[in-house]
Subunit: 217 residues, 2 copies
Amino acid sequence: MTNRKPSQSRSPEAAHEQLYRTLRSRIMYGELPPGESLTLRGLGREFGVSMTPAREAVRRLVAEGALTLSASGRISTPELSSERIEELACLRALLEPELSSRALPRAHAALIERLQLINQSLSEAVNRQDSVGYLRSNLEFHRTLYLRAQAPAMLAMVETVWLQMGPSMRLLYSRLQRREAPRHHRMILAALRAGDEPGLRLAVRADVTRGLRMLAS
Amino acid sequence: MTNRKPSQSRSPEAAHEQLYRTLRSRIMYGELPPGESLTLRGLGREFGVSMTPAREAVRRLVAEGALTLSASGRISTPELSSERIEELACLRALLEPELSSRALPRAHAALIERLQLINQSLSEAVNRQDSVGYLRSNLEFHRTLYLRAQAPAMLAMVETVWLQMGPSMRLLYSRLQRREAPRHHRMILAALRAGDEPGLRLAVRADVTRGLRMLAS
DNA sequence: GCCGGCATTTTGTGATCACAATCAGGGCAT
DNA sequence: ATGCCCTGATTGTGATCACAAAATGCCGGC
C-alpha cells in the first residue's frame, strides 16, 4: 500500500486528539472496568488510524493517571487500592471546596438554574439505574459550578483526579445505587443561593466524601 | 540506510523515558526560561534518537503542563500569567500542608537530619547565587519530607505543580536572591521535632506562599 | 489430571518516510 | 523607507516497517 493520506488537516482536530477525548470520556465516566486491557493496534483499528496516534493518546492518558503501563508496557485501566482511593478522595475534598468558594461570587441565577437542570437528569439516571449516566451528570454538575471559578489549572487538576477514579467509581456506584438522589447537591444549591461560603464548602466536602464512605468493603 | 538497531532492551530504561526524565528535570529546576521553544528533531538529535521517542516524551510533558503546544503544534515552555501563578501557588498551599501533616507521625530523627543536610546545600546554593541549585535543593527538601507521607498520588500532583512553575520560578528567584537562607525551613524542622502539627502546617504554608509574594511585579 | 517447556502470536518500541502547514527571509512595488 | 508576497526551509503528524520481549496456546511427560 502506498503512503497516501486522504487529508491532513492540522488545526481543527488532530486524529490523536479525538481518540484521546473519546478514550478519556470512556474512562472518566466508568465505561471501562478496572483492569481492562487495551492495545495500540486495537485502538487504532477501532478508530481507523494507525498505531501512532493511538500511542500518543495513550501516552497522554498514562501521564494523567487514567491508564497504567505494566512493567512490560502493557496498557490497562488502573485497579486502585483502597489507600489510593482514599488519597484521591482526600484530594477532591481539598480542591473542590476551594473551587466552589471561588465560584460563589460569580454564581448568578442562570448558573443555578443550569445546575438544577443537570440535577434533574441526574435523578433520571438514578431511576434508570444508569451508573454511567449518573457519573456523567454528577461530574457535569461539579464541573459546571467550578468553571465559574475561573481557575483552569485547579479545575484541570480536579478533573485528573476524577479521571483516575473513573473505572473504580463505576463499581462503587453500581452497588450503592439507592434512590438517594442528589441530597448534597440540593444543599450546595441552597448555599449558592444564600451566598453562604462556609456552608457551600461544607456541602461540597460532604458530597465529595460521601462516595468515599462506601468503600470500606 | 537499513533499519538496523544496535539493541532493543525493553525493561531497563526505554529511550523515551530517559529523554523524559532529563527534560523534566531541566524544566522543573528552571534550566529553561519561559517561552523557550523546542523541536522534536532537535531533541532527537541531542539525545541521539529519532523523533518518535522525543514525541512521546514531549507529549507526556505537555499532558503534565510542563510544556505547551501552540495552535500550530509548536512546542515551548509555558509563559505563565500572574493569575496562573497565583493559582499554582494556591494549589501548593492547599496540598503541601496536608502532605507535611501526613508525614509528621512518620518523621524520625534520621529524616530530620537528612533535611538539615539538604538545607545546608541550599544555603550554599544561595551563597553561590546559583538559582538552579537553589531550586533543586528547595524542592528536594520538600520532596524528602512528603515522601514520608506515603501518599504517592498527592505527591505526584504537587510535583506536577512544581513542574508547571519551573521555568517561571527561575526568573522569580534569580531576582529576589537575598541572603535569606531557609528561614521557614528552620521553622518546619522545629515543628517536626516538636511534633506540632498546626505549627508544621503553618510553617509549610508560609514557606510555600513566600515565593508568591514576590510576583506583584 | 496437572504441570512444565516450546513454538506461535501478540504487542510495544523505535526508525524512517511522505506530506501539509507554518515560519523566516529576501526581493519587489509603491 | 515600508509594506507585501513569494519561495525555501523547518516542523509536527501520521503511516509503515523491523525487531525483541512478553503472552498465549499446545503438547508431551509425569
